[in-house]
């Protein structure tokens, strides 16, 4: 963990204004913001730990818990909402066996909702990592994921 951090920090000057870019890079590397890393970068920038924490919790992008390998973002933009995004969310929750904001026990999937991915013409849509899938129906959305039984099985193994 320290190795990674020593790769990230030297490219920044220890300035307050670099807090958000550093947090973004840390998250890109680890997938979330580990506590030890947060402490260390607060010292590096020279701000109290609580301030680094307050910034990290303010923005929707930052996560304090590890994420799944695949991040599933259900778009809840206006166009998606009126074309049935709540049903898509429901179907995805069912097939993955987790609720909005949760991660499967095998750290495979994280389910989240986002305000808008900007593919309104393809509503309703969802994004898995960087790939956008549009014009969904609850059935089509479920097909994007392995059947719930196999997923559950993996959880039991864990």
């Amino acid at each position: 963990m320290e190795d990674h951090l020593s790769e990230i920090l030297p490219s920044y000057r220890g300035k307050r204004s670099k807090l958000i870019p550093i947090l973004q890079e840390v998250q890109a590397k680890f997938g979330y913001l580990p506590e030890e890393v947060m402490r260390e970068l607060a010292t590096f920038i020279g701000i109290p730990e609580c301030e680094a924490y307050s910034v990290a919790t303010f923005y929707a992008q930052f996560r304090l818990m590890p994420l799944g390998k695949k991040r599933v973002a259900i778009c809840r933009g206006t166009a998606c909402h009126i074309s049935g995004a709540p049903k898509i969310l429901e179907a995805t929750e069912k097939v993955l066996g987790i609720k909005d904001g949760e991660t499967t026990a095998d750290l495979e999937y994280t389910l989240e909702t986002v305000a808008c991915i900007g593919c309104c013409a393809l509503a309703p849509c969802l994004r898995i990592n960087e790939d956008v899938h549009g014009r969904l129906t609850p059935a089509k959305a479920s097909e994007l994921f392995p059947a719930p039984s196999t997923n559950k099985g993996e959880q039991d193994v864990q």
């Binding site: 307050r16 807090l19 958000i20 870019p21 929707a60 808008c116 900007g118 309104c120 549009g134």
Partner: protein, 605 residues
């Protein structure tokens, strides 16, 4: 160029990429690699064409053949049609949903022919990742003119005279802002481009950045020269990875060619642009919050009274903050002059507006139209009206800060002022069309749910007011609304509008207040009849019409609570068991399941 030569444009906007534009590009590349074709056919990636619904799009220039919904299997046929003589692949042409005729040229398609694309002039025509394409379409000519032929005062005078208003939503006159920033004392000044497009249902900033990033950079450099700044920032949402990537490419190319950096074009002017990725907070679209966010702090708007950002902005220095589209207009004003710009639009709103037209319309996508166009032109002329013969109900403009406009207002010319007067606002320019299948109470609840979550929590009216309003709305949509709820919503809404600290709070009640104003009877039905006419909310009395029922039994099979019972030759629903999940209503093949109003007790008696 001989007439054998042609260019194949492949749209690479987010919409088309998710529709599968990438495999199409690579197989086109493979097909065109053959010797005869290689000399005559140019393949080009472009930014968003706007007509995302028909994506992936492929266009053949110079004729302008417009192929929609292209699949990798169609590529071979397209390439075959290019040589020796260029023919049109009829099968892939866009089919007009009204006349059902194929339209070969994209300039004839109603979606495009009714638009005036000036800010979007290059989107879908040039390769956004190649500065040479931008240069070939008069790119950076405005910068040259500004640096060598005009003084800063003249530029500001031009911008003022053009009547350009901030296209981020509030519509503050851009020239006035520039002048205030120029006059503010201090050596160090900043220019910020606000690309924190957080409104659900709006994607025009993203499309401009993805399709024509250099036009925004050029506008920013000119702004920097006019107000006397040396450093610029683009505050772009991290949720827009493609826009971020193209901005990085564009700034690197501009630096290489001497449009950014020290001594721009040999004029001695110094200016550079840094890209800042916003970490996802809707309130950061507010100027003081955005500035704090770049400083690395929590993005909470400064409390009142606060000095303008043009006086005390980033790190306490005078800062010019404008939206993506505002900056993209600047090169046009400098080149064509303020008279040309002011010749379009209405008395007080000049130029064009870019809307993302989405929701229940046949043609969704990104459109650019003159200010003051009638809503009807947008919804029916360009959008083609609601698909499937459904009845039009309302237009929601301006996202969570805007409101809903009913069918009666379809003939209203829309600009900054008329929208505000109607209880909505221009906002980020999202235009969401809703039809009879959309519940207005649910739409209001949806927007409030969004603003309530995004409220930074700093000031009480916004933090508690939006929460209380949401509680009431949720109660109404659950069927637990009580008489007096509508008045309570109005009372709280007016106070949140009046006393909140920043733009988020002062506009948050708009969706609720405007739907109450224009669709009050829907609220009343929810509260008094426990009925939702759009059948979105879990409300109403479910009943099976025996005369229409074909006794297939699907409804009984799908009912999770066992509310559908069968006696001899008919099915019926036991009201006490029914949880109003609508499964029977959705599954019935003949539409025999009815959702009806509960009549008030006095009447049934």
């Amino acid at each position: 160029m001989s007439n054998r030569q042609c260019t194949v444009l492949v749209c690479q906007g987010t919409g088309c990429i998710s529709g599968g534009a990438e495999p199409i590009y690579s197989s086109l590349e493979g097909e065109i690699a053959k010797p005869d074709l290689r000399e005559n056919v140019h393949l080009k990636r472009t930014g968003c064409h706007g007509f995302c619904q028909q994506g992936p799009l492929v266009i053949v220039e110079p004729e302008g053949f417009f192929y929609s919904k292209v699949k990798p299997d169609d590529v071979h046929e397209i390439v075959q049609s290019l040589l020796p003589e260029r023919k049109v692949v009829k099968r892939l042409l866009y089919r007009d949903p009204i006349t059902n005729k194929r339209i070969p040229y994209y300039r004839d398609i109603p979606f495009y022919s009714k638009q005036q694309r000036t800010v979007l002039r290059n989107c879908g025509k040039i390769n956004p990742e190649d500065i040479n394409d931008y240069l070939a379409s008069n790119g950076y000519q405005a910068l040259r003119k500004a640096l060598f032929e005009l003084t800063s005062e003249q530029i500001i005078e031009e911008v003022k005279h053009s009547g350009l208003r901030g296209l981020g939503g509030a519509g503050f006159p851009a020239g006035q802002k520039w002048e205030a920033c120029r006059r503010a004392p201090g050596e160090v000044k900043y220019v910020i481009c606000n690309a924190d497009e957080g409104d659900p249902g709006a994607f025009q900033d993203r499309s401009v950045l993805e399709g024509d990033p250099h036009s925004v950079l050029e506008g920013m450099i000119i702004a920097g020269y006019a107000v006397g700044a040396k450093q610029g920032f683009v505050y772009v949402r991290a949720e827009y990875p493609l826009a971020v990537k193209r901005l990085y490419i564009a700034t690197a190319q501009a630096r290489e060619r001497g449009f950014l950096g020290r001594n721009i074009l040999g004029s001695g002017f110094v200016f550079d642009i840094e890209i800042f990725q916003g970490a996802g907070a809707f309130v950061c679209g507010e100027s003081t919050a955005l500035v704090l966010s770049i400083e690395g702090k929590r993005g909470m708007p400064k409390s009142l009274p606060r000095p303008r950002t043009t006086e005390v902005g980033l790190w306490g220095k005078p800062t010019l903050l404008n939206n993506v589209k505002t900056f993209a207009n600047i090169p046009l004003i400098i080149i064509h002059g303020s008279e040309w710009f002011a010749s379009r639009g209405t008395e007080r709103s000049k130029g064009t507006a870019i809307y993302s037209l989405t929701g229940k319309v046949a043609n969704c996508g990104l459109i650019e139209v003159p200010m003051g166009i009638k809503l009807r032109e947008i919804v029916y002329g360009i959008g083609g009206g609601p698909p499937g013969g459904k009845a039009f109900k309302a237009v929601q403009t301006g996202g969570p800060s805007g409101g809903c406009l009913p069918a009666e207002l379809l003939d209203m010319p829309i600009d900054f002022d008329s929208l505000t007067a109607a209880g909505s606002m221009m906002g980020s320019g999202g235009v969401v069309v809703v039809d009879e299948d959309t519940c207005m109470v649910d739409v209001a609840r949806y927007f409030l749910d969004f603003t309530q979550k995004e409220s930074c929590g700093q000031c009480l009216p916004c933090r508690l007011g939006t929460y209380q309003m949401l509680q009431i709305l949720e109660r109404i949509t659950r069927g637990e609304g009580v008489p007096g709820d509508i008045e309570r919503l109005e009372w709280i809404g007016r106070r949140v509008k009046e006393y909140s600290l920043c733009g988020l709070g002062t506009t948050a009640p708009n969706p609720v207040l405007s739907t109450i104003k224009y669709f009050r009877e829907e609220y009343e039905e929810h509260i008094y009849n426990k009925y939702c006419r759009a059948k979105v909310c879990a409300l109403g009395m479910f009943r099976i019409e025996p005369d229409e029922c074909v006794l297939c039994g699907l409804c009984q099979g799908v009912c999770e609570t066992g509310a559908v019972k069968e006696i001899r030759n008919k099915f019926f629903i036991v009201q006490d068991y029914c949880n109003k999940c609508k499964s029977c209503y959705t599954i019935c093949p003949v539409g025999a399941v009815r959702v009806e109003k509960y009549l008030p007790k006095e009447v049934t008696k």
